[in-house]
Subunit: 294 residues, 2 copies
């Protein structure tokens, strides 16, 4: 049945089909299929984060394939783990879906989750499948700090430099193209499947990052989180190609002591100043970013 | 603004209001408010499970308060951790909600999650809040095995006895009463706020449980999971007060070696036999239970 739906297979048939698509890793002591999974945490501390994607808000089925949604849902969470200086090890996935959801969509989602997770050596270890009128994908990522101290948003100090890992604005540009009817191209792909610089999270932590944040709401908004948490003034250099408000690229922004070596793949985009918590661009106040209820 | 909505406060205002309600614990090395949480895992293995609750499917706002939904969402996950022989330590919560959701509903949800988690010493460590036309609550629980081997569904052996911890059928009876218009009473309360026997999960593991399962789909269905995973025949004793198909009580069912001492608070309800994977009641085949797409 190439066009089978969730209703045709039933909950447990659907789960069985999805489980066939998933892999495993040495960290998985007990994978999907029991009441809960068991994952090795040799470090003795687990990093954990969750994100929810809703059809019509975070993705459209006519703009993104199920595979794309899986890649993006995994990326959003694994980037959060990287932003702490950790590496993702496991994903748990909640799928709330209408009874007429094509089984192929759930299978594509599982493939996308699996392939994005594989980029960091993580695997899907558990999940839940329930009926819902609206398609919702919730993902929780677990990660390992590998002995590092977690890099929070609260440690930036005056004198630090601000560094960016990864690209900004490509996802927002791709979304704008999709809205205009352009269905393919590198920017559209960047919207469908962001490519967070996972490796640079631990690298920046090892380089001495004092604060770090995933750029999901837009650079100004996410630097604002660091400014407030660290009680510092963050000034961004004016640059011809720096997107300030577009989110969803899942770049990483960090602060480094001025005498730290800036890792390959990162560039300095500003500095941390003394003064009231705010973000400025070349000294001028700027705001903007995504609020789900604004 | 007693009747403020999510739209009135905005995403970050709503999150701030919810965070005020939450507590912490020594296991929380980094709580909500950063890219991810960090939780201590002294055992070196973390138990992880996720459940999704959808308005109109798992709860109704006219039948359950936000506080009840929070209690139930936490209970469903923490019971899964107990069913592995573990103890819950942390919850992550995804809330997908319409812009007109009353802020008081989100606050009540947080209070319910907090109070149910407190029963086992767990706390909410992170979450995500997004806009959605349908109200969806996804919860992930993390837990600690405290040095125990996880008790899976796959270890039941012929000769074991089947033991039940907790009560069955009260949630289903409460749901039936709600459908008839009865809005209060102990059975209705049992539907709104199940009371899993959290402590008995680790106790049964220590008593030598060979298999264990949370009863969420109904006793026959969940024993069926053990029968299939363990490749054994499970025979349940006929009993005047044993509900076979009603789910959501989050009792625990386990198999114990015949010579093990049955812990206080548990009762023998059947035995494990050699033979093809099936569940019978007094030797007669029986089926039933909850399938989300059936």
């Amino acid at each position: 049945m190439a066009d089978a739906t969730a209703r045709d297979l039933g909950e447990f048939g659907l789960i069985a089909r999805v489980l066939e698509r998933l892999g495993t890793s040495p960290a998985v002591l007990l994978g999907p299929g029991d009441d809960a999974a068991v994952v090795a945490v040799p470090d003795g501390r687990v990093v954990a984060t969750t994100d929810v994607l809703v059809e019509g808000v975070h993705f459209r089925r006519d703009w993104s394939s199920a595979y794309d949604v899986g890649r993006k849902a995994a990326a959003a969470n694994l980037a959060d783990v990287a932003a702490m200086g950790g590496r993702g090890t496991a994903l748990l996935v909640g799928l709330a879906a209408p009874a007429d959801l094509p089984v192929d969509w759930a299978v594509g989602l599982a493939d996308g989750l699996r392939d994005e997770a594989a980029l960091v050596g993580a695997v899907v270890v558990g999940g839940d499948t329930v009926r819902s009128e609206v398609l919702v994908v919730s993902v929780t990522a677990l990660g390992d700090l590998q002995g590092r101290a977690p890099v929070t948003r609260a440690g930036a100090r005056p004198g630090d430099v601000v560094v960016l890992a990864g690209e900004l604005g490509r996802s927002a540009a791709g979304l704008a193209l999709l809205r205009e009817g352009t269905m393919s191209g590198p920017l559209v792909d960047a919207h469908r499947r962001p490519t967070p610089p996972y490796d640079l999270g631990p690298v920046l932590a090892d380089a001495g990052a004092t604060a770090m944040c995933d750029v999901s709401d837009g650079l100004l908004a996410d630097l604002g989180h660091i400014a407030v948490a660290s009680a510092v003034h963050v000034d961004v250099d004016p640059a011809d190609e720096l997107f300030l408000t577009g989110g969803e690229d899942h770049a990483l922004v960090a602060t480094l002591p001025a005498d730290a070596e800036v890792p390959a793949g990162c560039r300095v985009i500003g500095r941390v100043l003394d003064g009231p918590a705010q973000v400025t661009v070349a000294g001028r106040p700027r705001t903007g970013g995504w609020d789900h209820y604004a």
